[in-house]
């Protein structure tokens, strides 16, 4: 019994130590604030830096850090101190880490998170604490507007689901003259479901027919059952709105099952790790084309290549854009007041890698989409679509 009690007390002691160490940080901040020679602004980033989609978090982190580095870690005369937060792609942890960044680290703004299932709860925390949030890649409309309420401190740098789904469907109908399409989606991933639903709606509204509507789950590697089903229906289009890794796997098995359909998808395809040979001839909607001659694009691709040795994927690009937008807003508004930063953000107009961006009243970017084709191991520019 004595030992048991001792363990309990030890646990309590550890807990209280952790508690106090957490609290002890606060007084430490104040001397820093009193010394005027180096004024600091903290900017948070939330991404899945561990766990099964760590690679998405790494890309996001790369884009974020590169954007900060470009400005010499300075904005409006303040030194930027980045604070990294890991959400492990888990909504509960996302709330925890967002609360930590907002109330303990006292960041002025947060870039993140990657998945909508984390960005939605994070947006609630940011809104309540009046911290500006810009999500690079969360496409669910509910990140910025939920239940009819606009979360005024929340922005994003990517398209929302309805737009990409529609653009894809329209391209399939008008340019590819498709009559039938099959849709294969991850039923646990809201990004994928969003694109799939809006593609379906727009495609049927435009006179096309969805001949197969099939789901899988995130850890599936075998798609033979649904692909055999789809092969029977012989669709013109196979819409695969998932990330590059999944579509590479599905695409390969689809071809092996004798599916001749043209593959189509969304910005999740944009990665140098896409299986180009398999996805050859497929089309996808994206934010920019690496072939685009605009200086922003070329500079970005070169810089990323130099630093990390690979071409940037959509996640890195959007994180970079989101961070640039945020820094610009901070520059315009001054780093002190997050309400001013928010207002500056709302009014912003800026040339970014993914085009000229301004925000609509929902905090969603107004920017063109491009349609790219996977061709000869590269992404070939096909068309630009403005909303």
């Amino acid at each position: 019994m004595k030992r048991g009690t001792a363990v309990v007390w030890a646990l309590l002691l550890v807990a209280s130590l952790v508690l106090t160490s957490g609290c002890a940080k606060k007084p430490a901040e104040q001397p820093g604030a009193q010394q005027p020679q180096e004024k600091i602004i903290k900017i948070g980033m939330i991404a899945p830096l561990t766990g099964d989609v760590k690679t998405f978090g790494e890309s996001t982190k790369n884009g974020f850090l590169l954007a900060l580095e470009e400005t010499g870690n300075q904005v409006a005369g303040y030194k930027i101190e980045p604070v990294m937060g890991d959400d492990r792609n888990d909504p509960t942890e996302a709330v925890n880490v967002a609360t930590k960044l907002c109330t303990q680290d006292k960041v002025k703004a947060i870039v993140g998170s990657v998945a909508s299932k984390c960005s939605i709860p994070v947006s609630e925390v940011c809104e309540a604490n009046k911290v500006v949030q810009i999500s690079p890649t969360s496409t669910n409309p509910r990140v910025t507007v939920d239940l009819g309420r606009r979360k005024t401190y929340v922005f994003r740098a990517c398209f929302i689901d309805p737009f990409q789904g529609k653009v894809g469907a329209k391209f399939a109908l008008d340019t590819l003259k498709a009559k039938t399409a099959a849709v294969l989606f991850d039923q646990g991933n809201d990004y994928v479901i969003g694109l799939a639903n809006f593609f379906k709606d727009a495609f049927t509204a435009g006179g096309g027919k969805i001949v197969a509507w099939e789901a899988y789950t995130k850890d599936d590697a075998d798609f033979s059952a649904v692909l055999t089903k789809i092969a029977q229906k012989k669709p013109d289009i196979l819409y695969l709105p998932d990330y590059y890794n999944k579509v590479s796997l599905i695409g390969k098995q689809a071809r092996e099952k004798g599916i001749k359909a043209t593959f189509m998808g969304g910005d999740g395809w944009d990665s140098s790790e896409l299986d180009f040979a398999t996805m050859e001839g497929g089309y996808f909607t994206n934010h920019y084309s690496a072939e685009d001659p605009r200086p922003e694009v070329k500079a970005w691709v070169d810089k990323y290549q130099k630093k990390y040795g690979s071409t940037p994927d959509a996640l890195a690009t959007l994180a970079y854009d989101a961070t640039k937008l945020l820094l610009k807003a901070i520059e315009n508004a001054g780093p002190d007041d997050s309400t001013k930063i928010r207002d500056a953000m709302q009014k912003l107009q800026m040339d970014t890698v993914s085009g000229k961006i301004s925000f609509d009243e929902n905090g969603d970017p107004i920017k063109p989409a491009v349609i790219l084709q996977v061709s000869g191991g590269k992404q070939k520019y096909i068309a630009t679509v403005t909303p």
Binding site: D52, K54, D219, A225, Q253
Partner: protein, 294 residues
């Protein structure tokens, strides 16, 4: 009709892959009654090593499998020594928690940049995929290779268990550790051997899995591991042919329910069937009802 046949072939492919993992699961369980959660992650390491073997290290494919099997056998024995042996005489659940810890460790450690890295790698297959028609349905050479390998491994395993000295020792240890020790069997060595063989099987499974579904990443092992474990239980855990049978059924259930019922409710259908089977046969399909000790 050909569609049904083709779906059944698909189910067999998946089932054989599950069987590769389930065999190792059930062997370890049979000997020390441990649900070795880390088995799926050894499978993942095996997949990576095998793919590195024939791509980066340029080994011939069969040799790459062999190298991966040997390295994973060493890994399996190391895990057993470090994480399970200290708990040999502790409650069974303690070893299970340790296994969960090892599983998490392998996943998170392997996704660090200097190990395997977190990204999804597209696997270049060592040979081209060709498919031919059987009774109107498509069959690929990969399906055939996977099936042949599994059946050969199963036969070898059965031979080893029933016709070799180490197999006899394993069966003895699985029945009663203490009695086996009294008979002069070195129980620790037998357990190590079991882990070595089980992990080598997982490695072989991992390489074949990577070839069949050409993509690898550090969290690859969770789902196949879970499904294979379920398969092993379905067949009657601890029984080698039971794991094989359970895996084939799981494969068919997965594929057929996605194909003919609903892909969105596939896992719900699959596990409902599993629960129903268990209610009818509470110790799995091939498990014998043990007399209750009083």
């Amino acid at each position: 009709m050909t569609v049904v046949l083709e779906q059944i072939f698909n189910g067999f492919q998946l089932g054989f892959v599950y069987a590769l993992i389930a065999l190792g699961y059930t062997m370890v369980y049979g000997i020390i009654r441990l649900i070795n959660f880390a088995h799926g992650d050894v499978f993942m390491v095996g997949a990576f090593l095998g793919v590195f073997g024939y791509t980066s290290w340029r080994l011939p494919f069969p040799l790459a499998i062999l190298v991966s099997m040997v390295m994973c056998a060493v890994l399996g024995v190391t895990i057993e020594r470090a994480a399970y042996r200290p708990l040999r005489y502790a409650p069974r659940i303690a070893a299970l928690i340790s296994a969960i810890g090892v599983s998490l460790f392998l996943e998170y450690f392997c996704s660090l940049k200097f190990v395997f890295g977190p990204n999804y790698r597209v696997v270049d297959r060592p040979f081209a995929v060709t498919s031919f028609r059987v009774a109107g349905a498509n069959v690929s050479n990969i399906q055939v290779i996977v099936a042949v390998v599994v059946v050969v491994l199963l036969a070898l395993l059965q031979y080893m268990l029933f016709h070799t000295k180490i197999g006899k020792a394993m069966r003895a240890v699985s029945q009663d550790h203490d009695a086996a020790r009294l008979m002069g069997i070195n129980v620790d060595n037998v357990i190590s051997a079991t882990f070595a063989i089980g992990s080598a099987l997982a490695a072989a499974g991992g390489v074949l899995y990577a070839v069949a579904y050409p993509q690898i990443w550090p969290f690859l092992g969770i789902m196949p591991g879970l499904k294979a474990f379920t398969a092993a239980v379905l067949g009657g855990i601890g029984i080698v042919p039971g794991a094989f049978l359970g895996a084939l059924i799981m494969g068919q259930v997965d594929v057929l329910s996605a194909a003919f019922i609903s892909s969105q409710f596939r896992d719900a259908v699959g596990f409902s069937i599993l629960i129903l089977v268990l209610l009818v046969r509470p110790t799995g399909l091939l498990g014998s009802r043990q007399p209750e000790k009083v």
